[in-house]
Point group: C2
Amino acid sequence: MDIQLKRGLLDVCVLAAIRDEDSYGYQIIKDMQPYIKMSESTLYTILKRLELSEMLTVRTAEHGGRLRKYYHITEAGIRRIEEFKEDWKEILSIYRFVTKEDTNA
Amino acid sequence: MDIQLKRGLLDVCVLAAIRDEDSYGYQIIKDMQPYIKMSESTLYTILKRLELSEMLTVRTAEHGGRLRKYYHITEAGIRRIEEFKEDWKEILSIYRFVTKEDTNA
DNA sequence: CGCAATACTTCGTGATACGATGTATTACGT
DNA sequence: ACGTAATACATCGTATCACGAAGTATTGCG
């Protein structure tokens, strides 16, 4: 998919991936794989950004002797998803503008 | 609307604005206004980019003593719109992933 | 012992939307 | 005649951001 098209989707996708249950980087990538692919460097950059903007909180936990950083969505993160749903109406109107065939004979 | 969300839409929107009829910068902005707002600097940057990638051709014409640059979509430009329609399927699947409520429990 | 998988991090690069600013002309009100 | 808005296009600098490359470290398997 066009890289520019992905940009607005990535943040909100990551939030959606931790919405129902806390998760960690490696798992998030795997969960999103069927929908949208992203490299590790991209994901960790996004997670850092979402943490800075307080869309999620981080907690470090040990799992099998290895450290994992678990991410938990905040109220602001949930609102961010809601805002995306609002934006979606505009996106749809743009989609119609772009795809509408020229029906003037 | 979220600026990142607009990124993937802008190019294809501009192409859609000249699809049925050649147009020029100032007019394009006005035509797209109801759907998506962009500054002049953004539009002219995009037009330059689309010209470089041969999605459109340019012709300068005089109109009321003033010069106008008219933009004409190419075959590649039309294909670009078709590719967007293909991408749309992926976008929809992402949208569903993001908006689906947690129905477990 | 070596290699894949897991897990996270850092760095540099290229793309790009935008505000600010500039140039020039036409049109309109007073 | 004068000033202001509208039309029309261009350039520059900045901030944001996705990505590949590369690195660190551990677990687990053959």
